[in-house]
Amino acid sequence: MHSAVALTPRVADIPAIQEPLLNVSDLSLRRGKAVVLDGVSLALRPGETLGLIGESGAGKSTLALALIGLLRAPEVQLDGSMRFRDTELTQLREADYRRLRGNKIGLIFQDATAALNPCFTVGAQIAEPLKRHLRLSRWARRERAAELMHSVGIPEPRMRLDAYPHELSGGMQQRVMIAVALACNPELLLADEPTSALDVTIQAQIMELILDRVRALNSSAIFVLHDLALGAQVCDRIAVMYAGQIVEEGPSEHVLAAPLHPYTQGLKSCVVELGSRRLVPIPGQIPPLNAMPGGCRFAPRCPKAKTICSEQRPQAETRDGRQVACWFID
């Protein structure tokens, strides 16, 4: 499946010093009393791809929705900062945020079948951001939509413009979703588990297609994934999330080769490797939001936990070019 396709990281292509495109620092998100995201910090340079890895419930999708401004006050309470170029997203007025969504920031949903409106043709849905943000004429929208469909590998795009979502296969629907997200050449693409609702046989194709388009447009991308190995293959850098916090963040191959945080180590040992007998699942599960432990949130499940872990929260430290939040980095 994933590993069958060669997907080379591109760390080398990126200039070492560059203004970040996106800079999230100490972002917290509260829904009522529950702290869903807790002190999240990450930076993304132009053209860089980042994998957000974690179990379901870690807050990855929440972070993606917060970034595109679909989770905002008054629904939730946001603290900290999200800078996108020179714009502070947390302070942005809704009308201005709307001009970013689908334009500068694109979002690919997990399940295209559910995320495409069954009552509108795919052409109309691709054309929507073109009308909204680029103010293209009706004719130009149709042309551009067909081009976009062609670019995401939909055969005979002109005939399919007037097709309804249910007339396309799951893979084709996800390609349409990608075309919608990329319609306005976004600077930042968020992809929320873009292949997990698809057949195994086409997952790799779709992943490669997204990467290919992202590279072609020189966009940055954040992939929300639950598979550490896939993330390391696809992305330049990896951020591992646990219970609303980023526990380890760094270049993909380093994180995968030598994970520092016990949770990342656990995730890695979950990955079945050919010829290897190691398959040690992490015991337990993410604690419920209303019963988060006071210190390190991973402490109750951590094989290395000591007293301090459940008392004080570890701060992120820089080690070997990556950030790790753990009291006992060996």
């Binding site: 689908g102 979002l107 949903f109 069954p118 509108f120 929507e128 309804y164």
Partner: protein, 315 residues
């Protein structure tokens, strides 16, 4: 496509046949002997037999039905004993347009008030709009339309004098006068539908707004009003049309009452008067028309589904 359409057509024809058979059966069940009614009190045996033969009433019932159906299809519906008016003209050309106008106007009022109320109730749950929608849904659905009509006449017709109390002016003859005369009746009949429409809009929209494609529309930068009224409401139309179609019986029930309360010369008035006068052929004409109307609306609703939901379309 063709097969499905022809199956539908065959089914509809079958139902139409039942409707006509039921209407015919009604005439046969009606008390009184039509021959003796037509001959009056004093007649001879031979004249009785003669008329029976002339009317074809000595033939087997199946033949009588055939004759009746042939006459019906040709618009040869007979003459009223009382007003000596042609019944086809009375029912189809005079009464039916009145009822249809009343029903259409009521539905329009109900949609114009019901949909926004339902949308507001869904968007702002537990707000005044929500309370209003729930109250309208429960109250409007249960409140007897004939008493509501009387109250409206009392308040707006007599007390405030804003609207005429009785009578009908055809909007196709004098549009504004007609509309003015139909306002109170249309509100009376529409009140019943407002709550229903508000309630269905509310619950359907609540469900639709939780769908991922709504979030996806927002993620494309669609403004809030378009997300609700285009992406959301487009998906609410289907359950809305279903309910409107299903409740046609209630609509006709209310129309009969409303017509009588406001003295509108529609189908309901016609049938009521005919029942009181024991004019069975007029009653039968009313039954037949409402039956046909029922079938036609059900067919129309069925066709609308394909138009509203692309997933039901056959290519």
């Amino acid at each position: 496509m063709f097969q499905a359409a022809s199956a539908k057509l065959a089914q509809t024809l079958l139902v139409l046949l039942f409707v006509s058979a039921a209407s015919f059966a009604f005439l046969k069940l009606a008390p009184g002997d039509p021959v003796s009614i037509m001959l009056g009190s004093d007649y001879s045996k031979s004249s009785y037999d003669q008329l029976t033969h002339a009317l074809g009433l000595d033939q087997p019932v199946v033949f009588q039905y055939g004759n009746w159906l042939a006459d019906f299809v040709r618009g040869n519906w007979g003459t009223s004993y009382i007003t000596s008016q042609d019944i086809f003209e009375l029912a189809v050309l005079q009464a039916l347009p009145v009822t249809l106008t009343l029903a259409a106007l009521s539905l329009l009022i109900a949609l114009v008030i019901g949909i926004p109320t339902g949308v507001l109730a869904a968007l702002y749950r537990n707000s005044w709009a929500d309370v209003l929608a729930t109250t309208l849904a429960i109250g409007g659905n249960a409140f007897p339309s004939f008493y509501l009509g009387i109250l409206l006449i009392w308040l707006f017709g007599v007390d405030l004098g804003w609207f005429p109390v009785l009578g009908f002016v055809a909007p196709w003859e004098d549009f504004w006068q007609g509309l003015w005369h139909l306002t109170l009746p249309a509100f009376t009949l529409g009140a019943w539908y407002i709550g229903l429409i508000a309630r269905i809009t509310r619950s359907s929209l609540l469900e639709v707004m939780g769908q991922p494609y709504i979030l996806a529309a927002k993620a494309r930068g669609e403004p809030a009003w378009r997300v609700v009224w285009v992406h959301g409401m487009r998906n609410v139309l289907m359950p809305l049309v279903t309910v409107i179609g299903l409740q046609l019986g209630g609509m006709l029930r209310g129309a009969v009452m409303t017509e009588v309360v406001f003295a509108l010369p529609g189908l309901g008035m016609m049938v009521t008067t005919a029942v009181l006068n024991r004019e069975y052929i007029v009653v039968q004409a009313g039954i037949m028309i409402t039956g046909l109307l029922f079938v036609a609306v059900n067919l129309a609703v069925d066709q609308t589904y394909q138009f509203l939901d692309p997933r039901l379309r056959r290519r």
